[in-house]
Amino acid sequence: MSASTQIRPRATTPAAPLRPGQRRARVRTGITRWAFVVPAALFVAVFFGYPVVKNILMSFQDYTTKTFFTGEAPWVGLANYVSVFQSSVFTTSVVNTALFTAGSIVLQFVIGLGLALFFRRHFPLSGFLRGLLLLPWLLPLIASSAVWKWLLDQDSGALNQLLGVVGIAPVPWLVSPSLALIAVIGVNVWLGIPFNTTILYSGLQSVPPELYEAGSLDGATGFKAFWYITWPSIRSVVSVVVVLGVVYTLKVVDIILGLTGGGPANSTQTLATNAYHQSFINFQFGIGAAVSNVLIVASFVFAMVYIVISRKAVDE
């Protein structure tokens, strides 16, 4: 008797037959739920899933202009990947991508956070200024890069003219291989500050002011207040901003193409611009697909890292 009471079966709802109206209602609820999910799922499958799968397949094929007419794309296995990994342009583009992404994110974040902290204080026209800060983000990227190309011109660009007033010789911003990447990072930082500032600002708004009052009683003001009160409170916002920033920056193409086209001498060639060049200038779609798959894997790895870190944070 005692044994059977210990292994009491779990209480299930009594298997009373459903009234017809109830079953219809349940089916309708189920269908309604699916009706909300299906269009989105379909969209993701067609416009995201299919291109990714096709891209992976394309990287194993010899896909050129001929394929568009004949429909044939001979299978070449790993030949595209071998050719990509062996080329010196690939090594350069990996290094440039890493430098470009790291440089852009660090600078964008630091300056964005600084500006967000600055705007916490409300002074006359602060709202207007914050609105103006959004401008770089709102302008079309091609227009911005065209104007920056003029500004950074070595002989007649406005930036060098300005530096000339202070007595600095014309700097070859977009012409010297060592400076071109720095110039491109600079323009990308200019473009990315509004995004960082806006999101960090709203994150800062959500920190309760009572914490600061309590902290100031214990002597935590200025930098200490930032380190012990502000930073832990906005950590989740920071991780969102950084992840979104990295994923976006990894695939930036238009700024670089507009400013330098990947030059001079491949010094600003990143994985994304290299993939574009292979596919749409050389019409070697198989090789372009291989390069862009490397980029997708890099983004994916970073996304996994983010998920692991945020999981750990939740567990803490």
Binding site: T65, K66, S88, P172, V175, T260, A265, N266, N282, Q284
Partner: protein
Amino acid sequence: MKPGFHSPSRRTRALVGAVAAAATIPLVLAGCSGSGSASTSGGGKTLTIEDYYDANYDPVYEQCAEEVGAEVEINHVAGAGLISKVLQQASSRTLPDVLMLDNPDVQQIAASGALSDLADYGLDADDDVPGVKGANTYEGTLYGLQPNTNSIALYYNKKLLADAGVQPPKTWDELKTAAKTLTKGSTYGFAMSNINTYEGTWQFLPFFWSNGGDEQDIATPEAAQALQLVKDLQDDGSLSKSSINWAQADVNNQFIAGKAAMMINGPWQLPALKEAKDLEFDSVPIPTRTGSETVAPLGGEAFTVPQTGDQEKMQLAGEFVGCLNTDKMQAVLAGVSGNVPTNIEVGKAWAEDHADVASFVTTVQTARARTGELGPDWPKAATKIYTAVQLALTGKADPEAALEQAQSQDQ
């Protein structure tokens, strides 16, 4: 679902649903109603033409359409997007009846099997400058005909040269001396485009080819000499370091603004040059090392007849392309485009009446097709050439090493 949720009555919901469904019908119909371009209804055959020109070519097409007895539907596409559009149309089997292609692209598209043999329509390029045959022939078959062609030459500012007492140079040494003498203040003596696109390659080719360089292997002493010339011009201060970022349009702007006394450019810039105030200019063939004949690249676009499967229309399209290539139409097109006719006799007559393109008529007679040797593999060689130029001009490698490095690079 909470039982207390107030839902509108079934009738109201059905009504709203019906209205929403009815509202989608006009949207669906609008989406289904064809691509929007006017299609002729009934009578007359219509030929579709695709190019990257602008509307001032339309009267020419209408004229030839009338001569072959057809209607014409013209589609102008933005230059950079033409090949992508052609590939798209090839895979959906909607290629136009007459397709204009930039001449270096003809062999690559022909190799994919998309174009038809122009000999089927009784057309040939025997009376045209030799470069035309070289560019438009793939494996012995002629696929395209060019009514007009262009090339590049050395434009110079007459006033600046007269003030400095400098004659237009004919050899490389004369070019270096002239450029150095003409470099004063904020004006550079010389400007050219060395950008990392096919435009940069195009501009370097005259120096490269005239000295004996060959695109099959660019790492030769002759090519190194040509590259050394451009590097010397930059090191002297006669050529701006920004030339590695300039397209031909930027070079033209520098020349018009008086920031360059000489430039390498082509006759398509004439409208802008003529419009510039107080600018007196002229052109000479590009200098060669010893003053020998200049070998410049052949420019211009070709008209082709894609395989559309409709034999009757293809025959008509062939006649249309033939019409565009007659002596009369070549002259008309030259007037519209500012380029020079490809027919040798017509070209000579044209040079007599049009002094500002006379140097180009001379140059195109010995101009060489970019795809003449490598055919569909030209783009790889073109990439190697501009990579080598960029490596040398940025100082990353000296000319010989730059050419070797670029030649060994596969992408």
